[in-house]
């Protein structure tokens, strides 16, 4: 890459697009000096975020989340399993993050994206360690039957901050989750009881009141990228590809730090930077909480 001086000299008589492609770092730095980003955001602000619940009717709970252009579709399907002997009164949670080839030019069919299993793992770690879900609530009959919640998150459009969007969609999908009312038959198999069927449902449903999960300590995250002394919140794909140091902070709604994730990167994070990131995340948590609550109340009105 050319030195910054060289680029400075020729930048005057260069098309903006060409300059952006050839000297991306310099292009971005010129914006940063003015506390701006190429997409007209300030350094610390996140993109527009929207949450729509119940997007998939074939699932028990689902949500469509957009952060800027990054789009995530999360859906939960509930299935029955026999709980493990170590924890007979607990259900289980399986979280999978998919990057189908539609989401990004970098993903080709047949070869899963490198990022997908990593984000999958991060999501599972975060959701379980945040203590958002009490697995005991997923139990139906102790030692016999419990719910296995399959949470699948599909990335529909990858434009940076995938983890943030995925986590938000996961949380939103859980808040839209309606557990079906089920009963047990003679063979110990669980089936969906249909209340409307002439009212004489022979068997008492096992989970009459347990239709929703109580979500406590909901985790929210914010990814920032670090470049020199600048901290950019909620990067898009272009910013992520140019600035390689990223810090993802996950805080839950009670203010606890669930994860501080900085996988390498050329910029070292000093205490001050970390504190700034945490502070930005705190603000973001409040924003996201409002957005999520609005989405939930919207759904309940319907």
């Amino acid at each position: 890459m050319g030195s910054s001086n060289a680029s400075g000299d020729i930048s005057a008589d260069m098309e903006i697009d060409a300059f952006r492609r050839l000297f991306p770092v310099q292009f971005y730095e010129r914006h940063f000096v003015k506390s701006l980003r190429p997409d007209a955001r300030t350094l610390n602000s996140a993109r527009d975020t929207s949450v729509a619940l119940g997007a998939v009717s074939s699932a028990n709970g689902s949500a469509l989340v957009k952060i800027g252009c990054t789009t995530m579709l999360a859906a939960i399907k509930m299935e029955i399993m026999t709980p493990s002997t170590e924890s007979p009164d607990e259900g289980n949670l399986a979280i999978e993050f998919h990057m189908p080839p539609i989401c990004s030019p970098l993903v080709r069919p047949g070869r899963p994206a490198d990022a997908a299993p990593v984000i999958s793992k991060q999501l599972a770690d975060t959701i379980l360690s945040a203590g958002m879900i009490n697995l005991k609530e997923l139990c139906l009959v102790s030692g016999k039957a419990a719910w296995m919640a399959y949470l699948d998150i599909c990335c529909l459009d990858a434009d940076g901050a995938l983890f943030d969007a995925a986590l938000l969609s996961a949380v939103a999908a859980f808040s839209s989750l309606r557990i079906p009312v089920v009963s047990l038959n003679d063979e110990g198999r669980v089936f969906i009881s249909e209340e409307m069927e002439e009212g004489k449902s022979k068997r008492e449903p096992v989970n009459k009141e347990q239709r929703k999960l109580t979500l406590s300590n909901i985790p929210f995250s914010l990814t920032c990228v670090l470049h020199k002394n600048y901290i950019l919140a909620d990067p898009n794909a272009e910013e992520e590809s140019i600035i390689e140091t990223s810090v993802t902070v996950v805080l839950n709604s009670s203010g606890q730090l669930v994860s501080l994730y900085k996988p390498g990167g050329p910029v070292l994070a000093y205490t001050a930077a970390i504190q700034d990131c945490v502070a930005l995340t705190k603000q973001r948590v409040q924003e996201l909480q409002i957005i999520l609550n609005e989405a939930i109340s919207d759904m309940e009105v319907d």
Partner: protein, 256 residues
């Protein structure tokens, strides 16, 4: 912080206990289907281009509960190191999300649909306009609600148009089911489950060309004639909707 992942136990999805699945009955006298449509009435279509910003072109289609996104990438370098070719390549792949179907699936590629999609679009694209390179058409079925394949095909042709790939014409696709004595167009999942036969037609209305036709089940010649007529008619209407969707997109001031 203990990792709960590991061996996932075997699970099953609780199904409704019914005595026996009932074949849907069609009241011939009034000709109304379970969702209130007439036999020859398609579901309302919602189409939108530019659904995926990362793609060269994309489209979203929603026909009732069937929801599909198609992204088009390219023309770009062929990933497979292949011989020189003076026409471009079309590469199609259809996949389902794990939650698209009633029973949770694997979310893997649907090979058969991929190949039909390829065959349906191939004839509409000017492959010689991008020699040596590949255009990738990737479809994701977010929710399966019946007539998935025709929706994918129509949506893909819209996405190709959005990506600016040269085409002779838009490809519109419609399927119909033969349930008992009656033909129902644009069937939903429940109707597809009980169909005695099916017919899917992909059509370029301006050129009046059938690019793909798949028939299954037992048909007499007059019935095939009737079915094709119905599909052709529906394709023409659908193509009109697709065209107006593209026009709207072009007229509206571009945000990007």
């Amino acid at each position: 912080m203990s990792s709960r992942a590991g061996t996932t136990p075997s699970t099953y999805s609780p199904s409704t206990q019914k005595k026996k699945p009932q074949k849907p009955t069609f009241n011939d006298s009034n000709g109304v289907r379970s969702d209130g449509r007439g036999f020859y009435q398609c579901r309302p279509a919602y189409l939108k281009t530019g659904a995926v910003s990362a793609a060269g072109g994309s489209a979203y289609a929603e026909f009732g509960n069937t929801k599909v996104i198609v992204s088009v990438f390219g023309p770009r370098e062929s990933k497979k190191a292949m011989m020189y070719s003076n026409v471009g390549r079309l590469n199609c792949s259809v996949s389902y999300t794990p939650f698209a179907t009633q029973v949770r699936g694997q979310g893997s590629e649907h090979k058969e649909y991929s190949s039909v999609l390829h065959k349906a679009l191939e004839g509409a694209i000017l492959l010689e306009s991008f020699p040596k390179t590949t255009v990738d058409v990737f479809a994701l079925v977010m929710e399966s609600g019946g007539s998935d394949l025709p929706v994918i095909i129509s949506c893909a042709s819209l996405a190709l148009a959005d990506a600016g790939i040269m085409m002779y014409d838009l490809v519109a696709a419609v399927s119909l089911s033969c349930v008992g004595p009656s033909l129902v167009i644009d069937p939903v999942l429940e109707e597809e489950r009980w169909q005695d036969g099916s017919l899917m037609l992909t059509y370029m209305p301006c050129r009046s060309e059938v690019t793909q036709l798949a028939v299954n089940g037992e048909w007499t010649t007059p019935k095939i004639h009737e079915g094709m007529e119905l599909c052709l008619d529906a394709c023409k209407k659908l193509a009109g909707i697709m065209r107006s969707c593209l026009k709207e997109e072009a007229d509206s001031p571009s945000i990007q």
